[in-house]
């Protein structure tokens, strides 16, 4: 049992808003990283969605930013216990990108420049739940926050919103990603507090 440090509250703000269990509100935007920050020039950037049959669909930066984009305002919840409310993004819905993709897959393994991966069910990328975001707060997304483009899946813990996204592999069977192979939950619903395996 830890002893309590009187008067210690940490860098948090109390709030009337209901947050997922165990979460605390933050106003800054902490930068979490598991490695060196990749810096990918947009003229060499590509997004590839590959199917279980081996078909590849590729978008250049121009292709992506030429597609109809949406503005998203959403709360985000990091598994390290901070939540940030009302973050503003712009990006292309995965519904748009997956429209032409023929697949029988149930799972997706998201891949990033720099080697990071994360897995989630394909259905969580559909129906207006996920975007390839390339603007944050009316600005380009900085490399520290995953620019030029990151996945945005705000209904799951934020480690699923892979920074520096470069590809999505559609799979018939679930394949755990970077944190999921090291103890973190395969799904990661913040409202059910699915932080670690077995939660």
């Amino acid at each position: 049992m830890a002893i309590v440090s009187p008067g210690f509250s940490g860098r948090r703000r109390s709030s009337d808003v209901q947050l997922p269990p165990g979460q605390y509100l933050t106003e800054d935007f902490p930068v979490l990283t598991a490695g060196p920050t990749p810096r990918v020039p947009t003229d060499r950037w590509e997004l590839t969605i590959s199917t279980e049959a081996g078909r590849k669909h590729v978008w250049s930066w121009q292709d992506l930013t030429g597609l109809p984009a949406e503005k998203i305002t959403t709360d985000i919840h990091c598994v390290t216990k901070w939540s940030k409310l009302g973050t503003r993004w712009k990006g292309v819905s995965l519904d748009v990108l997956l429209e032409e993709v023929e697949t029988a897959a149930d799972f997706a393994l998201v891949q990033s420049y720099g080697g990071y991966t994360t897995n989630l069910p394909l259905e969580d990328l559909l129906d207006g739940q996920a975007w390839i975001a390339y603007r944050y707060d009316d600005d380009d997304i900085t490399p520290e926050h995953g620019g030029p483009a990151r996945l945005l899946v705000p209904h799951l813990y934020f480690w699923k919103s892979a920074k520096w996204v470069r590809g999505i592999q559609l799979l018939l069977e679930d394949e755990p990603g970077f944190w999921e192979t090291a103890g973190y939950h395969d799904y990661g619903d913040p409202w059910r507090e699915q932080r670690y395996q077995g939660d």
């Binding site: 490695g35 060196p36 103890g183 670690y196």
Partner: protein, 88 residues
């Protein structure tokens, strides 16, 4: 090189919670490039959901440690072996 990492020394506390010896003074070999060096010389990223230690030469992940409230996960697949100094 960014300012976003620290040395393998930073792993000492969390590893000593699990192991009876100090592993930061152990010598490891990177499974990626064969680099041989003390765990203390790894590049460690601590601002993350777990600790991620990377090879100072090839930047591949050599060790990961995730601490849950009642469990820890240690991933050493990026390490070929650890040579651990012991008192004779």
């Amino acid at each position: 090189m960014g300012d976003d990492h620290v040395d393998g020394n930073a792993l000492a506390g969390d590893l000593r919670e699990i192991f009876a010896v100090d592993l930061t003074a152990a010598t490891g070999r990177c499974a990626g490039c064969g680099y041989r060096g003390e765990v203390a010389s790894l590049r460690v990223y601590t601002n993350a959901p777990g600790l991620v230690a990377r090879c100072p030469r090839c930047e591949e992940v050599v060790l990961r440690l995730v601490r849950g409230p009642d469990r820890a996960w240690l991933d050493l697949r990026g390490t070929v072996s650890l040579e651990i100094p012991l008192a004779p």
